[in-house]
């Protein structure tokens, strides 16, 4: 076989292998989404968004409280996790080439590998035991801790990607370093940082384990920090392991709502950062 034909053959073989790998990765995702949609659509109605869970054993009712609770918990987690994570990431990228920086970076990497249930136990000890009750606050803290390493490390990576020439341009214009970081570096890295934050939010929104013994659950509307609060993942878990067919149906619907929420948040954040990036 001549060299040319051999090269062509290897090329198409490798391309084929890459395509197969992509399919292998996409098929589970697509089938999961299709499954959730197929199973969940049937249970979906206006009442699931607006109503509280019905009494045990009765059909009907909804899980509006859990949807609101999830948004509330994720909001709390963002409030604590995003500022700390972004600032830590900026620190690591701009000032972190020292011993302390390496320790922080290593800790963040270790933290991102900690099982979420361990984070739950940690927050249980720290917040729940000292408050003597399950609370939305504890749930928010647990989710914030889970978000923190992802936000920190993606911010660091993206701040590092901003070319030094832009920092120098800012400094040479007589702009103090803090303003260069805020107005030039973070601004330039914003779309990527937002994507990292969304990944962290998506992960936090889907967590069940750390909420089981921090936010616990609540069958009623609640928006107070120091009370237990319902959330979609916990609701799904509770309904899915229950013996009632109607609850199974609602669990499927709740799963679909959760996936859709994460999806909307993701797309929204992307559009938002892209729109801002284009207004340049």
């Amino acid at each position: 076989m001549d060299a040319h034909r051999k090269r062509k053959l290897v090329d198409s073989a490798m391309r084929g292998a890459c395509t197969a790998a992509v399919l292998l990765a996409v098929v589970p995702l697509a089938s999961l989404l299709a499954y959730v949609a197929a199973k969940g659509l049937g249970g979906l109605s206006w009442t699931v968004f607006t109503e509280l869970p019905g009494p045990v054993g009765e059909t009907g009712g909804g899980f509006g409280n859990a949807i609101l609770g999830s948004l509330y918990l994720v909001g709390l987690a963002c409030l604590a996790g995003i500022p700390v994570g972004v600032l830590a990431g900026v620190y690591l990228a701009e000032f972190g080439d020292n011993r302390f920086g390496r320790i922080v970076r290593f800790s963040a990497d270790v933290m991102s590998g900690v099982p979420s249930i361990a984070v739950g136990i940690f927050v249980y000890t720290l917040v729940v035991l000292s408050m003597r009750r399950f609370s939305a606050l504890a749930g928010g803290v647990a989710l914030a801790i889970l978000m923190l390493p992802t936000v920190t490390r993606t911010t660091e990576e993206l701040v590092r990607l901003v070319p030094d020439s832009l920092r120098e341009a800012g400094l040479a214009l007589g702009v103090p370093k803090r303003r260069v970081i805020l107005r030039v570096v973070l601004r330039t890295g914003a779309p990527g940082i937002a994507t990292g934050i969304m990944l962290a939010v998506a992960r936090a929104a889907g967590e069940t384990a750390p909420l089981l013994f921090t936010a616990f659950n609540n069958r009623f509307w609640s928006a107070s920090l120091d009370r237990p609060i319902g959330s979609l993942p916990v609701q799904i878990y509770t309904y899915a392991v229950s013996p009632y067919d109607d609850w199974h149906r609602q669990a499927q619907a709740a799963a679909l709502v959760l996936v859709a929420m994460v999806f909307v948040l993701n797309v929204g954040a992307r559009l938002l950062t892209r729109a801002r990036g284009d207004s340049r």
């Binding site: 400094l171 040479a172 007589g174 340049r280």
Partner: protein
């Protein structure tokens, strides 16, 4: 250089040598010519590497001074010391004095941020802010400092006109600075520096990333700006130095070898090193 230069010789090199046959003695400048900036015994390091070895050199007000020399001779480092940008690099250090209007910018308590707004800089690679429009790029030096900018339109027009860019961009001021061509981007960066009305403009190989046409436009611009600003330009290109500058300094291995009026340096170099370099025997 193998032999160390004596301090006396150095201080003579500090001011540019006058053209031969001119009535004043070499080593002095006429009273009408004022020094805007002066480095005295300036030394600069990257870590333990000494990049600038006791350089003393004066920049004449409203004149263009070119700094030439082979790669790694310290010419970029030198001008970065003139607006305190050298110390931005981790591990970098400066010793000695740099006087701006007779005040040492390395004095304890001097804010480098203030120095940089008086001594502007244009870099080798055009670096407009990609997230900002052309207009916002010009205003960046003012806006990023949180200043409210009245008469913004006037400032933008004036700076872009001075940078010979206004005509080309006046209808697309809202577009991204990154959408311009390389040469236009570099003129935008010059406009951005000029908008702050600096007293001195430092240019670090401003044309080395540009094509010949863009280069000649920037050179014309430097020529015009030279009447109004004190300019120091670092360049690899000796023809460019000859074309745009009034004075030329030749650096070699972190030392100032020769400093003279440009004609004089290129036609009658006094130091054999300078002669070797400008005739292309090394570098």
């Amino acid at each position: 250089m193998t032999e160390r230069l004596e301090t006396a010789e150095r201080s003579e090199r500090m001011r540019p040598r006058a053209r031969e046959g001119s009535p004043r003695p070499a080593g002095t400048t006429p009273a009408s010519v004022r020094e805007k900036m002066r480095a005295e015994e300036l030394r600069a390091w990257f870590g333990s590497t000494e990049a600038i070895r006791r350089i003393s050199l004066a920049l004449v007000e409203r004149r263009v001074t070119a700094i030439i020399g082979p790669s790694g001779c310290g010419k970029s480092t030198f001008i970065r010391c003139l607006n305190r940008m050298h110390e931005v690099v981790p591990g970098a250090r400066v010793e000695g004095k740099v006087l701006l209007d007779d005040v040492n910018i390395y004095e304890r308590g001097t804010d480098p941020v203030k120095v940089r707004s008086r001594v502007g800089m244009v870099f080798q690679k055009p670096n407009p802010f990609p997230t900002m429009s052309i207009r916002d790029n010009v205003l960046a030096g003012l806006r990023l400092n949180g200043a409210r900018v009245p008469h913004a339109d006037e400032i933008v027009e004036k700076a872009l006109t001075q940078a010979a860019l206004f005509g080309e961009v006046k209808d697309i001021l809202g577009r991204s600075g990154a959408s311009l061509s390389g040469g236009q981007q570099q003129r935008l960066c010059i406009a951005r520096a000029l908008a702050l009305e600096p007293e001195v403009l430092l240019m670090d190989e401003p044309c080395s990333a540009l094509d010949p046409i863009a280069t000649s436009r920037i050179e014309e611009l430097i020529h015009v700006l030279g009447d109004r600003y004190t300019i120091a330009i670092v360049t690899h290109n000796m023809q460019q130095a000859a074309r745009v500058s009034h004075y030329t300094a030749f650096f070699y291995m972190g030392e100032l070898v020769e400093y003279a009026e440009t004609d004089s340096l290129f036609t009658r170099p006094q130091n054999p090193k300078t002669e070797d370099y400008i005739t292309g025997r090394f570098g």
